[in-house]
Amino acid sequence: MSVFSEVPQAAPVAVFKLTQDFTNDQFPKKVNLGVGAYRTDEGQPWVLPVVKKVEKIIVHDDRLNHEYLPILGLPEFRSSASKIALGDNSPAIQENRVGAVQCLGGTGALKMGAEFLRRFYNGDNNTKTPVYVSAPTWENHNAVFSNAGFEDVRPYKYWDGEKRGLDLTGFLGDLESCPERSIFVLHACAHNPTGTDPTQEQWKQIAEVMMRRKLFVFFDSAYQGFASGSLEKDAWAVRYFVSLGFEMFCAQSFSKNFGLYNERVGNLTVVARDPDNLKRILSQMEKIVRTTWSNPPSQGARIVAITLNTPELFTEWKDNVKTMADRVLLMRAQLKAKLQSLGTPGTWEHITDQIGMFSFTGLNPKQVEYMVKEKHIYLMASGRINMCGLTTKNIDYVAESIHEAVTKVQ
């Protein structure tokens, strides 16, 4: 009698199943608008030229070995990564109250932050503390926090499906009515999946309520630089909140902006009240890291650290990032233009109003099914498309298919 005979088959993770179905599809004009990775105009993955350069440097450096990193990670990676988020001249950094934990991708950073909060945030047992994630949000946010022990993970109003934009009133309403000291997961920029970000004025309103009601700020920053093409612009919200004096976390991912997806490069930036708080926080983070992965992988962190800390390479990197951001912006502009010229019913301003890799098209589940089954265009059931999947070669086919879906299927 097997001990595992009762283990049920789990449902596959939707976004990966989508890619699998796409891979198995034989249709010659198929298009994958599912998983969130950058593609060139030839529809190919893109290893950033600066990354190739730095990898060569690493491979030829005989002084480098494969020894363990410290538990919290590569020091030069942690500090330079935090600087990218907070800015070179960040007062918080100058006041020695910013620290970081190198983690396995953005997911790992969220995980470490969540585990820490559950143990230490508001008393020593936060299993009942509400954690708010946007409606909708990246599908893994829920699981990260609930697996860390939070029993009450709830949505806050965010996306207004009717007007296809931010439901600011709803958002602010949830901020006003939630239990004090609730934890809020905020998308720093390029909201996933909607691509809809608050404006600076709206962020100010959000911050005011959060400060007044003592809510915890946990930023998820997975697209810095990738959204607008400017590191500073994409970090505006994070830096604004820091300037107000929040004690906060920021989970950073270098998967997209460095194209280092499979090396798992992430950083949990901790902004504390003072150096003493910071020291104690990091000492407890070490304990959590130690029982999860002991110490993080070195390759990706080395690539990022060398790039960020070498002026010419840093410039080249910013250039590479702008290349990616610009292509996405171009596809947005072209898709909107084509839909408008086709006379596709509805407004399509949101295609260019939205920012980052993803767009919430507004297609309903039936229309999505049509796209997938009849047109072999793979997108998430939510209507989310990855703009990176569009190329100059397939954009006409996609625009025409959207037109068909909207006009034929209700």
Binding site: S2, V3, F4, S5, E6, V7, P8, A10, P12, V13, F16, V35, Q44, V47, V51, V59, N65, H66, E67, Y68, L69, C103, L104, G105, T107, G108, K111, F120, G123, N140, V144, N147, M211, K214, F216, S243, G245, G259, Y261, N262, E263, R264, R273, D274, N277, K279, R280, I281, S283, Q284, I288, R290, T291, T292, W293, S294, N295, P296, P297, S298
Partner: protein
């Protein structure tokens, strides 16, 4: 102006207390503490025997040639950096399972194992612990040998399991307490989880002999226990990968459907690349698929998918005949150097005129040696001889070289005579 303004804001909001005021300073890591003290010591003859990473005879970190060659091969392929599947690099997990189970394994032939890539040994143990915590129908108790690797306890505890122990190390012989182990294991409640070190027990270096393993397998079966093997030193212990995996393979042959953690940190020197595997041997292929789906659900909210670099290196080595042969030579070389240092240490103690029996230094296997030094003796050897080890008298043989083994023998003799 900006600095003043934000400080003012901070002052105002600082009147309400920090979120983290109640966070205590975490206890210092005992092993790290040894290294810190070693670094501060100015004695030119100082030795760091706390280090858990292999060192060559010059005391330097050792990057294996097969690793460098594999890296060059990989670099020439210009691969992309797309996300790996949640369960990791397929070529790696296949090779990883084959290495542990053997090429002729019936388990592999019938596809009744699921092997996922993990964040080295720690990550593997953690995923395993989480899996058992969620799905194991038996008692939530994990039985560890006494003593065991320090990190085992917090890993299982954080995953929601409870820790118990069975006798293992006999301080009076510096060897295996076989009788005590069998007695304790025979009393473990059915369906509990028992953790076994496959080879090169950490921290004692004491492994059961094959006949003893057979009896352990027997009683474990009688008690219907779920076996969790931790294999962090395959190849590194005896120098022979098949010999070091013998216990794992024997248990499987005897019908135990084990769970297994593997690390490539030591045997491939890939410490910082975090290369490991977690295997569940299931009843059949169908069960393996179900278990796989649940492992993915566990992994996704922790780190989504594992890092590529180390797994790519390991899999290249294992599946490229030249590199695999080279690896086997090099791992044999590392194990041999350790074995030689053990012999020289024992001989040196004898030469110094020690009246104690130091046979255990030679009998023990792997990176670590439980010297038998008592806490007061450890304190003396650190203070008077600048020989750094953990309080339990454990030394890492990796920190011993032909250049300092003589000094070590003198120092140990001095504090134990």
């Amino acid at each position: 102006i900006c600095l003043q303004f934000s400080s003012l804001l901070l002052f105002c909001f600082g009147l309400c207390s920090s979120w983290w005021g109640g966070v205590q300073m975490g206890p210092p890591d005992p092993i790290l503490g040894v290294t810190e003290a070693f670094k501060r010591d100015t004695n030119p003859k100082k030795m760091n025997l706390g280090v858990g990473a292999y060192r060559d005879d010059q005391g330097k970190p050792f990057v294996l040639s097969c690793v460098r060659k594999a890296e060059a091969l990989i670099a020439s392929k210009q691969l992309d950096k797309e996300y790996l599947p949640i369960g990791g690099l397929g070529e790696f997990t296949k090779a990883c399972a084959q290495l542990a189970l053997g090429n002729d394994s019936e388990v592999l032939k019938s596809s009744r194992n699921i092997t996922v890539q993990t964040i080295s040994g720690t990550g593997s143990l953690r995923i395993g612990a989480n899996f058992l915590s969620r799905f194991h129908g038996g008692p939530r108790d994990v039985y560890l040998p006494k003593p065991s690797w320090g990190n085992h306890t917090p890993i299982f505890r954080d995953a929601g399991m409870q820790l118990k122990a069975y006798r293992y190390y006999d301080p009076s012989t510096c060897g295996f307490d076989f009788k005590g182990a069998l007695e304790d294991i025979s009393k473990i409640p059915e369906q509990s989880v028992i953790l076994l070190h496959a080879c090169a027990h950490n921290p004692t270096g004491v492994d059961p002999r094959p006949e003893q393993w057979k009896e352990i397998a027997d009683i474990v079966k009688k008690r219907n226990l779920l076996v969790f093997f931790d294999m962090a030193y395959q190849g590194f212990a005896s120098g022979d990968i098949d010999r070091d995996a013998w216990a794992v393979r024997y248990f499987i042959e005897q019908g135990h459907n084990i769970v297994l953690s593997q690390s490539f940190a030591k045997n491939m020197g890939l410490y910082g690349e975090r290369v490991g595997g977690f295997t569940v041997v299931c009843k059949d292929a169908e069960e393996a698929k179900r278990v796989e789906s649940q492992l993915k659900i566990l992994i996704r909210p922790i780190y989504s998918n594992p890092p590529m670099n180390g797994a790519r290196i390991a899999s290249t080595i294992l599946s490229t005949p030249d590199l695999r042969s080279l690896w086997l030579e090099e791992v044999h070389g590392m194990a041999n150097r350790i074995i030689k240092m053990r012999e020289q240490l024992a001989a040196g103690l004898k030469k110094n005129g020690s009246s104690h029996n130091w046979q255990h230094v030679i009998d023990q296997i792997g990176m670590f040696c439980f010297t038998g030094l008592k806490p007061e003796q450890v304190e003396r050897i650190i203070k008077e001889y600048s020989v750094y080890m953990t309080k339990d008298g454990r030394i890492s043989m990796a920190g011993v070289s032909s250049g300092n083994v003589g000094y070590l023998a003198e120092a140990i003799h001095a504090v134990t005579k």
